[in-house]
């Protein structure tokens, strides 16, 4: 069955089965009547505002939008969206959203999760949602700390992190969520930053247009337990050296006046950062998010130094077409009806060898 439908009039093909809003919407249509209860200064506010501001652009009937979350600070998100929503249990949002999205293709389903929720307790559900390619948009708020339990290290915390549970420093090597997602066969993987509303909105736009599971890692500041974790990416001056903005089809250059660039090391095949010169300018890698092979996207995800965050790419790492699970599930139902006719319960119950007792 094609994704396009005459019922939906959406301009985004991936959402064509979702009914369109009858009237123009504004940001306030997506604000619920609930008081927002994050700590003052939390990065979550900026993300909430960006999402509420972006939603009208989709033009979808808001009753057909659902936000599903797990447990953690970020997972309070659905309460603040005036759509349908479920604040579930720790780590399980991708599983619950999968059931919803695969049974209701007329819905736009969003998952809001955090680094602990998605990568620790819910790691299994995350990777399986990604490999299945269910039509879900997963917003992973990564603040590299446990906030709601008051400051233990998380699976994305840097090694040696001093926290309440690791007074002598954490021992675990962290996950890189983008690397993990690419390794889990994700068809869309992006990274953005809470404070860069324009970039965040652009990434949301591309994720919404993607057919299948989209993972968006959002670097989010926890000003209480891990303040300034991403400051190097936000401070205008430092960001020049630290942030690499990925744009599909464009050479990967950054730094003052694009003085730095990413090239492939001829010896190892790995990627490295060089100062751009007239000699090497032609060798600067052109970003191809749609490459069938995940190799380069993965290499890009490894560029950043996990401690200093220098050379952190943001933007869409990977965006490829793959069969969408819920579409195929629906197709199987359709072809079962085509092959066997619509289910006839009386015939089913009376199947097999039967015998009759007469009075």
């Amino acid at each position: 069955m094609p994704e396009t439908s005459t019922e939906g009039t959406g301009t985004i093909e991936a959402l064509s089965l979702v009914p369109k809003a009858e009237a123009r919407q504004s940001m306030k249509d997506f604000k619920s009547d609930q008081e927002v209860r994050w700590c003052p200064g939390c990065g979550d506010y900026a993300i909430l505002a960006a999402v509420q501001g972006f939603m009208p652009e989709l033009g979808l009937a808001k009753e057909n939008i659902v936000f599903v979350s797990g447990i953690g600070c970020s997972s309070r998100f659905p309460y603040y969206m005036n759509t349908y929503g479920m604040h579930s249990i720790h780590g399980r949002a991708p599983a619950i959203a999968t059931g919803l999205a695969t049974s209701r293709r007329d819905l736009s389903v969003w998952v809001v999760t955090g680094d602990g929720d998605a990568l620790s307790i819910g790691g299994n559900h995350l990777i399986h949602a990604l490999r299945r390619n269910v039509n879900l948009k997963i917003l992973l708020f990564n603040n590299r700390i446990y906030g709601l339990t008051k400051g233990q290290y998380s699976p994305t915390s840097e090694v040696g992190k001093i926290t309440k549970s690791t007074p002598m420093g954490s021992l675990d090597a962290p996950f890189n969520p983008v690397s993990l997602a690419i390794g889990a066969e994700a068809s869309f993987v992006a990274r953005t930053v809470d404070s860069d509303r324009k970039h965040l909105t652009q990434v949301l736009r591309e994720a919404a247009a993607h057919r299948g599971t989209a993972l968006i890692e959002i670097y989010q500041n926890c000003n209480i337990f891990n303040d300034g974790a991403f400051e190097v990416l936000k401070d205008r001056q430092q960001a020049e050296e630290a942030v690499i903005r990925l744009e599909h089809g464009q050479p990967i250059r950054f730094g003052t006046d694009g003085s730095r660039g990413v090239v492939r090391d001829a010896q190892t095949g790995d990627l490295k950062v060089v100062t751009v010169t007239p000699e090497n300018e032609s060798q600067i890698l052109v970003h191809d998010a749609r490459s069938a092979s995940p190799t380069t996207a993965f290499a890009l995800s490894r560029l950043a130094d996990p401690d200093t965050l220098h050379h952190t790419p943001i933007g869409v790492f990977r965006s490829v077409e793959r069969p969408v699970y819920d579409t195929q599930m629906a197709d199987q139902l359709d072809s079962a009806i085509e092959q066997n006719g619509k289910g006839d319960l009386a015939a089913l119950l009376a199947g097999g060898d039967t015998w009759t007792v007469v009075g």
Partner: protein, 643 residues
């Protein structure tokens, strides 16, 4: 076939020998029996389950009442020829209404020394034993600890032994076929089936048809199996060792008028779910993770996509129930199927479903525990887990089917409760019901209950300022159910979650009085579920009541019949609803001097009964992975009566 109506007493285990005659066209005697218990036993790879299934199907088609007990190891192929590798299938069939797969086989088919050794202790003296002598090599016998051949050392004196070189005869019968010896040997189970089919005058067309369709892509193999099957039949007809064959008349009077089929518990449960989906007019969504003995429900439902059934094989048990809960939020009839270890993993999600107050069926096909326990054996030890296995006060209704065919009705009943009261419901089946089978009267569709539900369509509350709003936790005053407002319904956008909610609005609330109220209200909703009164079978105004639940129905009823035949007075009642209990249960318990509760656990129902009704209930327990035997249970009940 079981029913609450009184029926002929289940006799002692010895086969009753009736008239003897010689039908036309044969020189052999035919004896008439009223019932027989046959056990097929062999190596895990010998195809004993298939052989048993086929014999059962022939027997069902013939019109006998029947009850089956498959029994197999958890290993797919345990080491060949060893005791742990023995797989068996027991079938009890009769010309009258029976209740159990039978205590002790009248006939054992032993395909190798291990099968003989593992099953001999269950056989009464005088039982017939058919052994495949080809497998009784010195090495095979030593493997299971036979120093001398039991076929020759006199240890089987007192049994009626039929030594048959099954393998040799099968290979000989198939010599015209272009098969290797190994391939030909594989058909020996069909030879055995042919022989038994001759012995008991079973119709053969069904098996031949089955073999043709099973091996449709390999016509040679189909033909070879049919040839082996016929050779087994002819062997019985011609060999002098089998002097007698038996007739067991159809159980015409045991069955109410109707069309019947043989059905296993898991199949009946699967059909019950499809039927519930139709009766509710909601799409069925199964989120599940493979686990023995529940996987067959996943397999079965995955075949019925043309009924709009969605089956999702999740990455783990938690995702199975998670996906189901997501689908429930979206308006599906949502189901998750599992066994005890899976329920443990799903506990937190069941608690979430309690808090969200969404309909959800949690189907637990119980097996031996704790931990991995006995994956392929039966037990009833998840009752307290179903009742209490969650954090906080999280009441969940519990429904338990009592026979394989009853799994169909139990699924519809569980769906009725879930949909009416917007709650997760536990359905407790077990390995015995799941794999066992019996005749089932196929219901007419108009006999099925109406399960249609009304989704919320608009505002349900008026604020003080006169504005109309939707409150997701404003309850129906009768059922205390909250409205089910599914995404896609304009104007009813709302958020639900596992955090405590304010009564009515559903907004997050940590207020002490509100939490107290919500906990009590959720409990009151479950306590108030309408369930039928408990029926008591007590023809003689007995002083002792035997109370059971779930799959012990057959053995308990068989034991009660034995006792009554022997002149004892005993009352019997069987619980289908474990939470809430039927309203009249307390009154019923109060009528008896003694209450005995047999369970395949260490007294879980007895614990609940004692706590709730302050009744000094006596437990009778067995946890050996097998169903109760009627004789043993009758003895225990007699002791309770006399105590």
């Amino acid at each position: 076939m079981t029913s609450q109506v009184s029926s002929p007493a289940e006799q002692a285990d010895e086969a009753v020998v009736g008239e003897q005659r010689k039908p036309a066209g044969t020189t052999k005697d035919v004896r008439r029996l009223d019932r027989v218990i046959i056990r097929f036993a062999g190596d895990s790879g010998d195809g004993m389950q298939l052989t048993g299934d086929r014999f059962t199907s022939e027997t069902a088609t013939f019109g006998n009442d029947l009850s089956t007990l498959p029994n197999f190891p958890a290993e797919i192929r345990a080491p060949a020829g060893t005791l742990p590798g023995v797989s068996s299938f027991q079938l009890h069939f009769a010309d009258h209404d029976i209740l159990t797969p039978g205590d002790a086989p009248n006939v054992l088919v032993a395909m190798n020394p291990a099968a003989l050794k593992a099953n001999l202790a269950d056989l009464p003296r005088g039982a017939e034993i058919i052994v495949n002598t080809d497998e009784f090599t010195k090495r095979a016998m030593q493997k299971v600890g036979y120093d001398t051949s039991p076929l020759e050392d006199g240890s089987l004196d007192g049994y009626s032994l039929h030594p048959v070189p099954l393998t040799t005869l099968t290979v000989e019968a198939l010599k015209e076929f272009d098969l290797t010896r190994k391939e030909a040997e594989r058909s020996k189970n069909m030879f055995a089936l042919g022989l038994l089919s001759w012995m008991y005058h079973r119709p053969t067309e069904g098996t031949e048809k089955f073999l043709k369709s099973k091996f449709a892509k390999k016509p040679d193999i189909a033909a070879a199996n049919i040839a082996a099957f016929r050779a087994g039949w002819n062997f019985g007809e011609t060999t002098e060792d089998f002097a007698v064959s038996y007739e067991i008349a159809p159980a015409t009077t045991a069955f109410p008028v109707g069309t019947y089929r043989n059905i296993s518990g898991n199949l009946a449960l699967s059909y019950g779910l499809v039927a519930a989906s139709r009766q509710a007019d909601l799409p069925l969504y199964l989120g599940s993770y493979p686990i023995t003995p529940a996987s067959d429900i996943l397999h079965e439902l995955s075949r019925h996509k043309n009924f709009g059934v969605r089956t999702f094989q999740a990455e783990d048990e938690i995702a199975g129930i998670g996906a189901a809960l997501g689908a429930a939020f979206g308006g599906s009839l949502a189901v998750t199927t599992t066994s005890g270890p899976g329920v443990a993993l799903k506990s937190e999600s069941i608690g979430l479903a309690v808090s969200l107050e969404l309909p959800l069926l949690v189907i637990d096909i119980q097996r031996g525990g704790p931990s991995t326990g006995l994956p392929t054996k039966t037990e009833q030890a998840d009752l307290l887990q179903a009742m209490f296995g969650r954090n906080g006060e999280a009441p969940v209704p519990i429904v338990a089917p009592c026979t394989p065919a009853d799994c169909f009705d139990a699924a519809l009943e569980a769906a009725r409760i879930a949909l009416t009261y917007r709650t997760p419901v536990m359905l407790l089946s077990d390995g015995y019901l799941a794999n066992g089978s019996e005749p089932w009267r196929i219901p007419e569709l108009d006999e099925l209950p109406d399960l249609t539900v009304q989704f919320a369509q608009g505002p349900n509350h008026t604020l003080d300022d006169g504005s109309e709003v939707f409150w997701p936790y404003k309850r129906d005053p009768q059922t205390l159910a909250r409205p089910w407002a599914i995404p896609g319904t304009p104007g009813l956008e709302h958020r639900i979650g596992g955090i405590e909610k304010e009564d009515g609005t559903g907004n997050i609330s940590y207020a002490p009085a509100n939490h107290d109220f919500m906990v009590r209200t959720r409990q009151a909703k479950i306590d108030g579920i309408e369930v039928p009164d408990l029926e008591v079978d007590d023809p003689h105004e007995a002083k002792t009541l035997v109370l059971g639940w779930g799959s012990t129905y057959g053995p308990i009823t068989a034991a009660v019949r034995r006792l009554r035949t022997a002149g004892e007075s005993i009352a019997q009642a069987h619980l289908r609803h474990l939470n809430p209990f039927p309203r009249n249960l307390g009154v019923v318990l109060g009528r008896y001097e003694k209450v005995v509760i047999p369970e395949m656990n260490l007294g879980q129902l007895a614990t609940l009964i004692r706590a709730k009704y302050l009744v000094d209930a006596h437990s009778y327990n067995q946890v050996n992975g097998m169903p109760f035997k009627a004789e043993q249970l009758a003895k225990a009940l007699k002791e309770a009566i006399d105590a």
